[in-house]
Amino acid sequence: MTDLAGTPTTVRNDAADPDAADVARVLAGDVGAFEGIVRRWQGPLVNMAWRYCRDRGRAEEMAQEAFLRVWRGLASWRSESSFSTWLFSIAANVYRSELRRFPAAIPIDQIAEPFAAAVQLSDFELHSQRDALRRAVLTLPYNYREPVILYYFHEMDVSRAAQTMGLPEGTVKARLARARDLLRKRFPHLNPQVAAEPSLSTGKDLSR
């Protein structure tokens, strides 16, 4: 079972948990066992990094740094907690500090202008406008940006986003509401056609 970003849904089962097994092997001295962890989590970590910076090369560099941080800190993982939560927290810390040092270079004037409703849009325009909205997230003030990134990365799960950021759910909800207000102001005429176009959606039922 995977979520939007290909994240394996972690079901805690000590006997069959491949992450716990690989961590135990690594801690016993088998460096190669870490490959299993990277193989399983490379998609989610690269996708998460991509949402932070919208730059493929940089996303892979940041994800690599996150894996190295995970490697160094494997001994500190307590198996009582979810491996995925621990992993995502480390990755979020790495991405956050990386982007504070070198912010994602997306000036606000490079974001496409809002578009009018009730206009028949071509596929290219639809794609461009979706992309403009996604990039607009990176121009939000930092406190609002990260909740948006992690909320949608975690398939709109406030609880998991809050765990990843290490913040109370209420704080995340408040920041998320503010961020969505800012985005609505920026895209006041967001065309339902842009949102509902099935060709670029993941096909997942988001209204569950």
């Binding site: 939007l4 193989r39 490379q42 996303a59 994800a63 190295l68 949102a195 209204s207």
Partner: protein, 129 residues
């Protein structure tokens, strides 16, 4: 807040766009690149821990010296400020003005020599020299 908490709840356009981000597939060399870095780290020698135990006496000495210098500085400043009477100088003012800096230089040299000797002794003990 969470638009999907209620079954059948309508998602707004922002939700639909941001939730439908196309997944990015890591490049083919990503896994090997990460493992290469991990293996490099695994075989790299552990960093030498700082010898706190051995350095402690030196740090205490340095802290004491600095504290003493601060005390002397404040004492001298206060003495000047409040015009505290000093004992009559044993030397003439001209000689005194030359002697005082010379004493400080001698003290600094002695302190440097002592710290050099001490650190050399520590290095010899830890077989680094």
């Amino acid at each position: 807040m969470k638009p999907d908490t209620q079954p059948g709840a309508e998602l707004d356009a922002i939700d639909r766009v941001l939730a439908s981000d196309d997944p990015l597939v890591p490049s083919s060399g990503f896994l090997s690149s990460v493992m290469e870095r991990v293996r490099e780290e695994a075989i790299a020698p552990q960093p030498i821990p700082f010898p706190w135990k051995r350095a402690f006496p030196g740090m205490v000495l340095a802290a004491g010296t600095i504290g003493w210098l601060i005390y002397e500085f404040i004492r001298t400043a206060l003495a000047r400020e409040w015009q505290i009477a000093f004992k009559a100088p044993l030397l003439a003012p001209a000689e005194m003005s030359l002697l005082t800096p010379a004493l400080w230089v001698a003290f600094a040299l002695a302190l440097s020599l002592a710290s050099w000797a001490f650190s050399k002794r520590l290095m010899r003990r830890s077989s680094l020299l």
